[in-house]
């Protein structure tokens, strides 16, 4: 197997990956190092390794997702696990079978790992407290999206070598973004300085108690940063009318060709996808030479393989 073992091994003990807030820098680095080994598998002609053979992974998705769901399915397949897709488009508050009952039923069928996406913050934690299977959070409400955070720092580290000392702007609807939160925890723990950029109406409550700085001006920030992560405006989550029009939002917070002219030449442009072209960023920027948006997707696979591998290993050790 293509995993490089370091001499000073951290013992990974978590059978769940619920969020990055609870991880320390050493644990995050350990996942990234593990992912590095798995990246090679995808470049081979036989893109498969055996560590999850005989294990069952269920993709339990209560919200729309293409990228994350497929990425997890492919990652599990490459580790030789069997994958069950369970998609249920219901809101958290709707009647019917409860989340716990759904999970308990799946568990009764003998599943080993639940990958869950849910509109309610804390839903993965609820599962982890009540069932024996491993739980991986694939996005919960606007709390966390840990594998996205991990693939973002993985991508940055791969290109820049380290996150230590980097200035990173995260731009857009911070209030409703689980990506912004997971990125913030991972990036700051690895030594980067994070700036949240967006209109005050899209900043979370008491943002100043978070380990970030805040700016309402993309123009001021664009020149200073080494990485810029443009969040998707999630029209489905926006309550009310947090900005007057798409036109005005793009004017202040869109990543345009014009703005890119003032950025550092080696700035990395990131986006968690799917892009609203022309809204968060112009197509020329999304497809331009600084964009690493597709690398993010590629790296996501390696990161998710690493996470599946590690939680399974921790569960096996716990037995």
């Amino acid at each position: 197997m293509a995993i490089k073992r370091k001499s000073k091994q951290l013992k990974w003990r978590r059978k769940h990956l619920l969020g990055l807030r609870e991880l320390n820098a050493e644990e995050i680095t350990y996942i990234l190092d593990t992912a590095k080994g798995f990246e090679l598998i995808s470049t081979r002609s036989v893109k498969k390794a055996p560590p999850l053979r005989g294990k069952v992974v269920v993709n339990l998705f209560f919200e729309d997702s293409t990228r994350t769901r497929n990425s997890f399915a492919l990652a599990a397949n490459r580790l030789s696990a069997d994958v069950i897709e369970f998609t249920k488009k219901t809101s958290a508050v709707s009647k019917g079978e409860t989340l716990l009952d759904t999970a308990r039923n799946l568990e009764a069928m003998g599943i080993d790992i639940i990958v869950i996406r849910h509109s309610a913050g804390g839903a993965p934690k609820l599962l982890s407290r009540n069932i024996n299977a491993c739980v991986i959070n694939a996005g919960d409400g606007f709390c966390e999206h840990p594998t996205q955070g991990l693939l973002d720092v993985y991508t940055i580290r791969k290109i820049k070598g380290t996150l230590d000392g980097l200035k990173i702007a995260i731009v857009g609807d911070i209030a409703h973004s689980r990506v912004a939160r997971s990125d913030m925890w991972a990036m700051t723990k690895l030594g980067a300085e994070v700036i949240f950029v967006g209109p005050p109406t899209l900043m979370p409550t008491q943002v100043r108690r978070l380990p970030v700085s805040v700016s309402y001006s993309l123009d001021e920030v664009i020149e200073k940063v080494d990485v810029i992560n443009m969040l998707r405006i999630q029209f489905e989550r926006l309550g009310g009318n947090p900005f007057p029009s798409v036109r005005e939002y793009s004017h202040y917070f869109g990543l345009t060709v014009e703005r890119m002219k003032r950025a550092k030449p080696d700035i990395l442009v990131m986006h968690p996808g799917p892009i609203n072209r022309g809204l968060e960023m112009e197509s020329e920027v999304a497809d331009g030479r600084n964009s690493v948006i597709l690398e993010q997707v590629t790296n996501g696979l390696a990161v998710r393989m690493a996470v599946l591998f590690l939680v399974n290993q921790a569960a096996a050790q716990g037995d």
Binding site: G121, L126, R209, G239
Partner: protein, 425 residues
């Protein structure tokens, strides 16, 4: 033949009559017959040495869920819990299914309470039909049937003109109008206090402004109407400031607090434990300080539970989806001991005043004292007894109580309702 019950040698605390002394209380039939050194024998004697003998406690804010959600609580189960907690009277909130909105509904509550034969059970009626905040409910008929106040609790009356009309109309009946202060525009779909913890937990928050904006509005309406108004479960430092100013202006405004807003903060929600999901939400340490100061200052008129039972299956949902509410009726006295007596904020007489005398005044009933000739509602408390809160021993049907396992002090020994011992530890 009259029945006599003599409670000997207790520390008798009756704030309404300025009594706090070791003496005896004689009950004949359902009335207090004498308080003092009583040497003559009685048919039945209770030795209360080392115990507190107080007016029966009154909780003016409980949810007994009947009619509609009898699987969560009934008037019978809630009443059993109430007497075990030392309460000789409780006031049910009208947000049942259907809501209490006419005299038949009020009479139904009273009938169920008579059948349960535990504690006195009063009810408030809804301010508006179906608690929708649009048309006034039949306040007059409800008041005549014995409703002790009106509220749409669980919701605030959003429309200011409806609230103004409600206050004006209620003036005919001299009953309290009580408000769950929450402006839905500010509260949105929030499920916990808006702050650092809602941000990192990724949960929609309820800003303190939601409470304060409606309280401020209502205070303006009370200035205009001068009708008695009661602010239910205030939870923020801003609300304390508003109440302080209103009382300085001598407005007919009273307010209450709950134990959870004195003991728990929004940090408790950090593990998404839905037993901490309550409305108004748990706030910050700064708010707790302000509320405790308010109690010390005499700004708070009643200590209540807001006993809100829910099934475990409902509380096992996602934090977003689970219902609001904490069931704490059976341990509430010891919670107030922890919050207010142990830190030296209140002494026992002041605590009893806020759990008996003043609540009785708010709902306009002739209770809450041990005055001679008054109805014999008496609670005997062992102020030193320590115990561990165990939800599995609750008489309440619901166990959604975040205090399970807490070690607390202050136990109810006996609860006497209308001269009858209805609970003995």
């Amino acid at each position: 033949m009259n029945s006599e019950l003599l409670i000997k040698n207790g520390r008798v605390i009756d704030p309404a009559n300025g009594v706090d002394t070791e003496c005896d209380v004689l009950i004949i039939d359902d009335k207090i017959a004498d308080v003092g050194k009583i040497e003559k024998p009685a048919q039945k004697v209770i030795d209360a040495t080392g115990k507190l003998v107080t007016p029966g406690l009154i909780d003016i804010h409980v949810h007994f869920r009947e009619p509609g959600d009898e699987e969560e609580e009934t008037i019978a189960s809630g009443s059993s819990a109430a007497v075990a907690a030392g309460f000789t009277s409780v006031v049910c909130m009208p947000n049942t299914k259907p809501p209490i909105e006419n005299e038949t509904d009020v009479e139904y509550i009273h009938r169920k309470a008579r059948q349960a034969r535990k504690t006195h059970v009063y009810t408030m009626g809804a301010i508006t039909k179906k608690r929708e905040g649009v048309e006034l409910a039949e306040m007059g008929f409800m008041a005549e049937a014995g409703a002790v106040g009106f509220t749409d609790d669980g919701r605030g009356v959003q429309d200011q003109s409806v609230m103004l009309r409600a206050l004006k109309y209620a003036d005919m009946f001299d009953v309290i109008v009580a408000q769950h202060c929450q402006d839905n525009g500010f509260a949105g779909n929030g499920v916990m206090n808006a702050g650092y913890y809602s941000t990192i937990l990724g949960l929609p928050g309820i800003d303190p402004l939601a409470e304060e904006a409606m309280l401020w509005r209502d205070i303006q309406l009370v200035k205009k109407t001068n009708v008695r108004y009661h602010a239910l479960h205030i939870s923020t430092s801003g609300s304390v400031e508003l109440i302080r100013a209103a009382k300085k202006d001598s407005l007919p405004i009273t307010c209450e607090v709950t134990p959870h807003h004195l003991l728990l903060t929004d940090e408790c929600c950090a593990e998404y434990d839905t037993n901490y999901k309550v409305n108004p939400p748990l706030r910050s340490a700064k708010d707790i300080e302000a509320l405790k100061e308010a109690v010390a200052e005499g700004l708070i008129d009643a200590l209540v539970t807001d006993h809100a039972p829910h099934l475990q299956s409902e509380k096992e949902l996602e934090f977003l989806a689970a219902p609001f509410g904490i069931a704490s009726l059976e341990c509430v006295l010891s919670l107030y001991v922890k919050a207010l007596i142990e830190p030296g904020i209140l002494a026992w007489p002041a605590l009893i005043r806020l759990m008996a005398e003043k609540p009785a005044k708010i709902i306009g009933v002739d209770k809450g004292t041990l005055g001679v000739g008054k109805q014999a509602d008496v609670t005997i408390i062992d102020p030193k007894a320590e115990y561990e809160i165990d939800v599995n021993k609750f008489r309440s049907k619901s166990k959604n109580c975040p205090y399970h396992g807490w070690k607390v002090t202050g136990m109810v020994e006996k609860t006497i309702v209308g001269g009858e011992i209805r609970y003995e530890a």
